[in-house]
């Protein structure tokens, strides 16, 4: 199952706009998909007998740096076909912490996404629409800021205790 075949399945179903770009150089080729189609694409990749990506390995949220915006990367694996696929989504460069960059949650497709998305929200500050229980997972509930952002400033104190 190569990338062009997967791409054909998706464009046939959802139209040409669902895939923004593809990365063919490098060791692991990746599809860059449009954020609006992510949930539909994931459902299709999970259910289609030809792709059958039933195992979600990893969700990584990334801050590419100021002006370049955020991204979420999905690593899928198919157990019967023994294949892997990388999906990437680019998100807006919303640095203001009152409006987080947002993307649809895929936790209805793979339950693995539940905790992975909570971690991405916790550390990078990406909001997942439709997530059943989006709260911080590793840091305390009252933590300020998102530590894996490039513009994160270390806090001076926590509950009045100097920590720097």
């Amino acid at each position: 199952m190569d990338l062009t075949k997967i791409k054909n399945i998706l464009t046939k179903r959802f139209g040409d706009t669902c895939i923004v770009d593809e990365e063919l150089q490098g060791l692991q080729p990746a599809l860059i998909v449009h954020a609006d189609f992510l949930l539909d694409i994931c459902k299709e990749l999970r259910q289609n007998k030809e792709t059958w990506f039933d195992f979600l390995s990893c969700i990584s949220a990334i801050d590419y740096g100021p002006n370049e915006g955020f991204g979420v990367v999905y690593h899928l694996a198919s157990i019967p076909h023994k294949t892997q696929l990388t999906l990437k989504v680019k998100l807006d460069d919303l640095r203001d912490e009152s409006i987080l960059p947002s993307i649809d949650s895929v936790s209805s497709v793979w339950r693995t996404a539940d905790w992975h998305e909570r971690e991405a929200y916790d550390l990078v500050g990406v909001f997942f629409n439709g997530h059943p229980d989006l709260r911080r997972i590793l840091l305390p509930d009252d933590w300020k800021g998102y530590p894996l952002r490039r513009d994160y400033q270390d806090a001076e104190s926590y509950h009045g205790i100097p920590i720097n």
């Binding site: 692991q28 195992f55 990388t86 905790w115 550390l123 997972i137």
Partner: protein, 382 residues
């Protein structure tokens, strides 16, 4: 609190409780002895691995990977190093002797990790002796790995492009002695715990995990195999020298109860120890015959002075004792510091299935299920 029914009560188990295997807090909504819902709270051991990795060069990050799953440090650094080597295009050039030493120490570490899983599981259920026996045998492995690397648990032994040191002279012989000593102990352990009627009654038919649920929650390693799927990344991805080595992949068969119950998960680990012993024997044979140490062999010969892969991103996955350990690297091609390293810990995903497994069960069974998942909080929290 307002949503609780009058007969319901919230009980906190942990974060300081031996049966949570570390600093994990389980918020249990219970009705008498019956568990209605479990909400795990973690993060007490969060040490910002990913943040550290963004400010350190690859070689300096290896000790941090050791501290993730601190019961299987060799396997962690092996996965990390393989990822970096593939990005550098080095992985085909690594000498066979180095690869065999890596597999040898990783499998020793896998046995040590499974011995802890089995021993502490015995304690969770109420059997103290297996714990002492497992720790006694594990101590031999710890001593050997300390001899090789200089450290008892956190080794920093596997480096990008090679090894810290070659094996010490006489290591292979001592390893053979250990294998000869250890094989009868496994039979004893089976008599003591695996076929113990009390142990079977506590674990069989408890916490049954159907295969599709396991896959949907991203469970991997012994958790997934106990549900009946032959899925081992050592065979699927065929990394390192595993294709040259002969071993079986044990799966759960539901011998004592239903497929995918706690006893199956326990049994898969016991069977994996037997397979790891087989792998160790094959490694030792190669290391003592055609891959003998020679005076001019330099385990650091290929270690690059500066590790700076070209701009790319790469996801490496490898079979840790607990399951699929993944590292996702993003590099910019200029510096020797990665732009992003994301770690996917197997325990993190295996633990996420606990609330699903713990609906309308007894509190005592909750402890049995949690023990059978075999989590390491160092890796859940990273």
């Amino acid at each position: 609190m307002s949503e609780l029914a009058p007969e319901e009560m919230i009980i906190n188990i942990g974060p300081q409780h031996p049966s949570t295997h570390g600093v994990l807090r389980l918020e249990v909504i219970s009705d008498g002895e019956i568990v209605k819902e479990v909400i795990p709270h973690m993060g007490y051991l969060h040490r910002c691995f990913e943040k550290h990795a963004e400010s350190l060069s690859y070689g300096k990050t290896i000790p941090f990977t050791d501290r993730m799953d601190y019961l299987a440090s060799m396997n962690n650094s092996h996965a990390f190093v393989m990822g970096v080597e593939r990005m550098l295009g080095l992985e085909k050039e690594i000498p066979k002797r180095i690869e065999y030493i890596r597999v040898l120490v990783c499998e020793l570490n896998r046995i040590a990790s499974h011995l802890i899983a089995i021993g502490t599981y015995g304690i969770d259920i109420g059997a103290f002796t297996p714990f002492m026996w497992c720790f006694r045998d594990r101590e031999h492995i710890m001593n050997m790995l300390e001899w090789a690397s200089g450290s008892r648990m956190l080794y920093n032994y596997i480096w990008v492009g090679g090894l810290f040191y070659d094996l010490p002279v006489g290591f292979e012989d001592r390893c053979e002695e250990f294998v000869a000593y250890f094989k009868p102990k496994l039979v004893e352990l089976d008599e003591l715990l695996t076929n113990n009627q009390i142990f079977i009654s506590r674990t069989a038919n408890v916490g049954e995990l159907p295969l599709e649920v396991a896959i949907n929650y991203g469970c991997s390693g012994p958790m997934l195999r106990a549900s009946g799927l032959k899925w081992d990344l050592r065979r699927v991805d065929e990394y390192s020298v595993y294709p040259e080595i002969d071993f079986e992949i044990p799966i759960g068969k539901g011998e004592m109860g239903k497929k995918g119950d706690c006893w199956d998960r326990y049994k898969v680990r016991v069977d994996e120890i037997v397979e790891s012993v087989k792998i160790i024997e094959q490694c030792l044979e190669r290391l003592q015959k055609d891959l003998k140490r020679t005076p001019d062999f330099d385990p650091r010969g290929l270690v690059p002075k500066k590790v700076s892969p070209k701009a790319q991103d790469y996801y490496i996955r490898a079979e840790n004792p607990k399951g699929e350990l993944g590292f996702y690297f993003i590099t910019d091609g200029r510096s020797d510091i990665p732009r992003r390293v994301k770690a996917r810990g197997p325990s993190f995903n295996n633990l996420s299935v606990l609330p699903e497994l713990s609906k309308n069960i007894l509190i005592a069974d909750l402890i049995a299920i949690l023990g059978s998942i075999d989590i390491v909080l160092g890796e859940v929290d990273r």
